[in-house]
């Protein structure tokens, strides 16, 4: 893998949309199940953390606990849903279901499959964010237009973790392999990326490690957008997200392409 390969612009045609639509068709058939895990679960978190635990916290960086936690919940939801779709979902289609091998029998090639699948897992993450947002509006948690500015960032987070998930899919030997990435990466990230408490609470060394977590930048960007952060900080965090997404996207293209066409 050469450095330049990490920054290329992938080329694919409208076949990617066909791959995306296959997944969307299945999603439409099973939306009720999806709704439970991709929307209801985050909402329960919000209730438990925000209203339950939050009642004991008066003020955190000048906001109520639920105000502090909500942006992190959105970012974490985008991460989890996109990541799980891109790992368990795609691994199943790559191996047991042989979905990709079948698609490859048509004019659609590996690049369209990767592009379509990355976009699909990102879309699912984003649908989940939209679902949680709607519920939050209903409960009066979102009062202004700023959420509209945060949504594109949440889509980038979905894309990023869709790509990271795809890389793990390309490495996995079986379903158990994902336990490493989930317990070793995703769960710690969801706890330590400035999600439940400010990063200042962490010991100095750990704080720097937390900055290596892409979710930290996602949470920070969304939180600053919703709560008056400085423009330059927002831009910096978004830039980190975009750069990481682009690199991870190229790695997934390189690795899955090799898996699909030997």
């Amino acid at each position: 893998m050469r450095i330049s390969e990490l920054f290329t612009v992938p080329r694919f045609n409208d076949g990617a949309i066909k791959v995306w639509r296959r997944d969307f068709l299945y999603f439409k058939k099973t939306w009720l199940v999806s709704l439970f895990w991709i929307v209801l679960e985050p909402v329960i978190y919000l209730g438990a953390m925000g209203f339950g635990l939050g009642a004991f916290v008066n003020n955190i960086n000048g906001m109520s606990y639920i105000e502090f936690f909500f942006p992190a919940l959105l970012a974490t939801t985008a991460m989890l849903v996109a990541f799980f779709e891109s790992t368990y979902g795609n691994y199943t289609k790559l191996t047991h279901q042989r979905t990709y091998a079948t698609i490859m029998l048509t004019r659609i090639g590996p690049d369209e499959i990767v592009a379509g699948e990355l976009l699909w897992a990102a879309s699912k993450g984003f649908f989940s964010v939209l679902g949680v947002t709607v519920v939050a509006i209903f409960f009066g948690l979102i009062e202004n237009y700023k959420i509209l500015l945060a949504l594109p960032v949440l889509f980038i987070i979905s894309c990023l973790f869709s790509c990271i998930g795809m890389i793990f899919t390309s490495i996995a030997r079986n379903y158990d392999s994902f336990i490493y990435s989930t317990s070793g990466l995703i769960v710690p990230m969801s706890l330590l990326s400035g999600t439940y408490f400010p990063l200042d609470q962490l010991p100095t060394g750990l704080r720097y490690i937390a900055y290596l977590s892409p979710l930290t930048h996602g949470v920070a960007a969304v939180r600053y957008i919703l709560h008056e952060g400085s423009l330059s900080l927002i831009a910096t965090h978004i830039a980190v997200l975009l750069l990481t997404t682009w690199i991870c996207m190229n790695i997934s293209f390189l690795r899955i392409r090799k898996k699909l066409l030997k």
Binding site: R21, L25, K29, R98, T99, A101, R107
Partner: protein
């Protein structure tokens, strides 16, 4: 390349990290022909076919499908061929009908056209009453029929069938081979791999027998049988003690034979007389039969057990 050639293969090779799967094959398959790739497990049939339908990279050599270079024009080739892979690869997330419709979208077939074609293929394959069933609930034979319908949805010029009847019960096999006859009568070019020699003999205009990545022989089944086996086969059982005695007598009279354990098959050539061979042996179990492609296959590929 003349226009009646559907597939042209020159010195085609496929090397995996640990083994050579296809070791320099040359082949021309004509339009409207039913061509069979035969051989034991691990002979390289499936790999050769995968390169033809552009699902495996070519290590070296030339491969043209319908005049298109498989190394450069995979997308165009794939839009003009139909493939029924060994593992049906049906999508368990969808119903029978949806499997065809979704696959049609991959092929860029407009929605209404896709519906028409799917319905008519389902009728043709006797699956119309199951169209709303989940594919998981189908029997093996039904799954295979659905995979065949799927392979035909883009009205392909060439159809590839990898072990189309392996693992099916006799009824399902007969039905499927009958369907291929119908397909053949419509002048489709069909390329298939199979273990079933008698079926290949009936169906295929020509066959290639492969072993260890190489093509051992190519020809019309009847010609191969006449040339390599003869006009009939006299088969008898004996015991290890008498075996060598009989073989010596047969050799002396110029008879060719194949031995599998204690069963000897005498290959009687056109110029020879089977009765003479019978006179040379004494066994309770002698019978005379027509030679088959199976004899050719065993002669060329041997009878040792093959593992993948």
């Amino acid at each position: 390349m003349s226009s009646n050639v559907a597939i042209e293969i020159k010195d085609l090779r496929k090397k995996y990290e640990d083994k050579i799967a296809v070791d320099g094959i040359n082949l021309e398959i004509y339009k409207g022909e039913c061509f069979g790739l035969l051989g034991p497990n691990g002979a390289g049939k499936t790999t050769a076919m995968k390169m033809m339908y552009c699902s495996a990279l070519i290590t070296s050599g030339e491969l043209y499908i319908l005049g298109l270079n498989a190394k450069k024009n995979a997308r165009e080739i794939k839009s003009r061929i139909g493939v029924v892979p060994q593992e049906d690869g049906l999508d368990p997330d969808f119903t029978v009908l949806e499997n065809l419709l979704v696959y049609a979208t991959y092929n860029n077939i407009p929605k209404e056209e896709a519906h028409l074609r799917s319905q008519s293929l389902l009728r043709l394959m006797r699956l119309d009453e199951y169209q709303d069933r989940s594919v998981e609930t189908l029997s093996g034979g039904m799954k295979r029929r659905l995979a065949i319908a799927r392979g035909l949805i883009n009205s392909p010029d060439v159809v590839f069938l990898d072990e189309p009847t392996t693992g099916l019960d006799p009824q399902a096999r007969i039905w499927i081979w009958d369907f291929f006859k119908h397909l053949k009568s419509e002048k489709s070019t069909i390329i298939l791999t199979t273990h079933y020699m008698e079926e290949a003999e009936q169906m295929c205009d020509r066959v290639a027998i492969m072993d260890e990545g190489k093509i051992l022989v190519i020809g019309k089944p009847r010609d191969l049988i006449a040339e390599l086996i003869g006009k009939e086969v006299v088969e008898f059982d004996t015991n290890p003690v008498d075996l060598n005695y009989y073989l010596g007598r047969l050799r002396a009279e110029g008879f060719a034979y194949q031995v599998i354990k204690n069963t000897v098959s005498i290959l009687v050539k056109e110029s020879q007389d089977g009765r003479q061979a019978i006179n040379l042996i004494a066994s309770d179990k002698i019978f005379i039969r027509k030679p088959t492609l199976n004899d050719v296959f065993l002669k060329l590929a041997g009878h040792q057990l093959r593992d993948e």
